[in-house]
Amino acid sequence: MNAKILGAVSAFALSALLAGPAAAEKHKIDFWFGNSGDIAKRVQEQCDRFNASQSDYEVVCTSQGSYDASLQNTIAAFRAGQQPTIAQVSDAGTLDIMLSGAFYPANKLMADMGYTVDWNDYFGGIKAYYATSKGDMYSFPFNSSTALLYWNKDAFAKIGKDHAPATWEEAADDFKALKEAGYACPLGFNISRDEVWQFEEQFNAIHGEPIATKRNGYEGLDAELVFNKGKWVQFVKDWKNWYDKGYAVIKSKETGQTFVEAFAAGDCQVILTSVGDHGNIGRTAKEGMNWGVAMLPVYAGTERKHSFVGGASLWVLSGKQDADYKAAAAFFNFIAKPEEALTWSTVTGYIPVRNSGYEYLVKQGFYDKAPYAGRELAIKSLTASPADDANSFPGIRLGGLLQIRQEISNGLQAIFIKNEDVQASLDAAAARGNEILRRFEQTYEGKQLP
């Protein structure tokens, strides 16, 4: 046993020796994130730019392949004391880490490291989503997006219209007219777990309707789901009606073509999806197709509220050295630059998260040019009402959010595919969702929601 200890100790000493000179050059920290493919390359480029911009620190950025693998690996590493300094956590994992205490709050970090950050520079809707109920920012909003309505201008011209529907009533007439003009898929949609947010969460957000009590969970873990009691039920009934009449068509990977692909190919005339898809639709759209974006419709007579932000934020984990935190703060300071916002929005479909970044983009004429024009509507949608408006909701703060989305998706599938009763299915989804919330509450018994 002693020999083993000695062996381990000497191996450790050796590695310390080897690491010694390298550490003197640049202090390295790890940053784990979940994006893959082209976006992972863009994150890597951002890291490279930071590393080249100064000589004190080096951020080693590692893609973990997906949001869930990244979160899982970060948790595993944290519990073994091997955590990275910076980790990306998607909206669905936010509440767990917030309650864990496993992090160094963003606002405290920047203050401790001597940076002054104007937290109000973040767009209200984005800040509200990630902040605590007291308005403290514990993490840095990173890749952010929100939903928009995409419409095919050529098809709408055929029915004598030059603008996208602003209300759902108008949209219903447009769908009908498009169908009668011979279009097979006026509205393309899907109801899988990852594609219901634009129809459920965003609908409730812009209508100022609650998804759960306690201000959508911001004011306590004892929140209960109420999406089955508001305006959204009527929307699902209308939506199902469009589906039955062939105005709305399910387009998914399983049918062979996702609704985004169907829109780009000119097969579907309206879709609701993230602003993040704007770039891809531009790149893959059928030759010569005219299309545009608009804010999501509301029911007539509704005062529009701000939509919710989607995506992920960056958390700094606890248990690291002071030097690690200095490096992290320098990195955050770097990516907050307006020039970085411009590059980031140019190479990805994500939007700037701060006013200063947005204004810089506007000044540079970013939104005037063809491939990017229209994306400013995402900002308009996120800021449609002030963040402190008592009649709107900051976001969703529910435990087991992913499982709840799955329950909603299952409820909608029962309605659309198996023709089950709308109200009964949504009630069942809410009841199952509430069980998830109660389990979550019990898991964190005694913890206070910050």
């Binding site: 869930d68 767990d96 990977k253 399983e254 062979g256 073509q257 299952n410």
Partner: protein, 294 residues
């Protein structure tokens, strides 16, 4: 099953098993035990502590009719994919073993499906199975609406069974073939001399000698169909439409790995383990008896 002739040295016997036991203890039982302990608690994912709840997690699952449905579906999936993967692989292996023209190419290519990478499998089967644009859309042109895994739960179940079996045909094929190659040529030739035809020989000589391998593959296929299927469900259906392909292991993966409900996933894992172990014990009890090891 017992050997008549054995060696008596317990020390050497144990030494032979020791390396594997050590690895299994350190990398399976120790961490696995911890994970299973969570089944009786509510574990905070980031490690902030847990709360002892006894059998609450199990009670919660077992009183849920939807969970029982997923058990039924897993059994259907296990039976279907095992039958297809083993049946097809056996036929192909026996035919390849006849060493007709081109058999050396078949020998390799029938193993290839096991080597396909997950993203390629997803893309390829999407291309083949999609009801509107895939190769199978031909079916819909002849009989409208006969094939639609996106909206029809039974079709979706068939789709994942086919994709899973396709991959495991490669796995089964190589073990069948290696066992068939172990049968001496002289035996088959002698039978041929006696005038028994090729099919007769398969049933009289080859199949009986294959039984140890058949049993091995049966146990492994059933186990893997319960344990290894979440990847295919995640790529192809995500458990839908309307829960039609929500297998037990997919729910474990979704709740635990994606949804951070470690305790719920642990309780489900225990139920799944008990089920698979029961199935295995049944197989050892009732099927292994009929095997001729010599």
């Amino acid at each position: 099953m017992e050997k008549r002739v054995t060696f008596s040295s317990t020390t050497i016997g144990l030494l032979f098993a020791f390396p594997m036991l050590l690895l299994v203890f350190v990398f399976f039982y120790w961490p696995g035990g911890q994970a299973l302990f969570w089944a009786f608690t509510l574990e905070q994912p980031w490690g902030g502590g847990n709360k002892w709840v006894g059998f609450q997690n199990f009670a919660h699952l077992l009183k849920d009719p939807i969970y029982w449905n997923s058990i039924t579906r897993s059994l259907v999936f296990g039976a279907g994919s095992t039958a297809i993967a083993m049946g097809v692989a056996l036929v192909l292996a026996v035919l390849t073993d006849r060493e007709m023209k081109g058999h050396s190419a078949y020998r390799s290519i029938f193993v290839w499906p096991y080597a396909i990478a997950a993203p390629a499998l997803g893309l390829a089967f999407r291309f083949i199975l999609a009801p509107e644009a895939g190769l199978l859309s031909i079916l819909n042109r002849v009989w409208p609406d006969i094939w639609n895994p996106a909206l029809d739960g039974n079709d979706a179940m068939i789709a994942i069974i086919v994709a899973f079996s396709w991959k495991y045909i490669g796995y089964n094929f190589i073990f069948f073939l290696s066992a068939l190659q172990g049968i001496p040529r002289s035996l088959i030739e002698a039978a041929a001399m006696d005038g028994s035809g090729p099919l007769r020989r398969v049933f009289d000589i080859q199949l009986p000698l294959l039984t140890p391998t058949l049993f091995f593959l049966l146990v492994i296929n059933i186990t893997e169909s319960f344990q290894d299927s979440f990847g295919i469900v995640d790529i192809m259906t995500q458990g839908g439409p309307a829960r039609a392909t929500e297998l037990m292991v997919y729910k474990i993966y979704f709740d635990g790995f994606k949804g951070l409900d470690y305790s719920g996933a642990a309780a489900q894992s225990i139920i799944l383990m008990v089920l698979v172990i029961l199935l295995t014990i049944l197989q050892f009890r009732f099927i292994e008896r009929r095997i001729h090891y010599k």
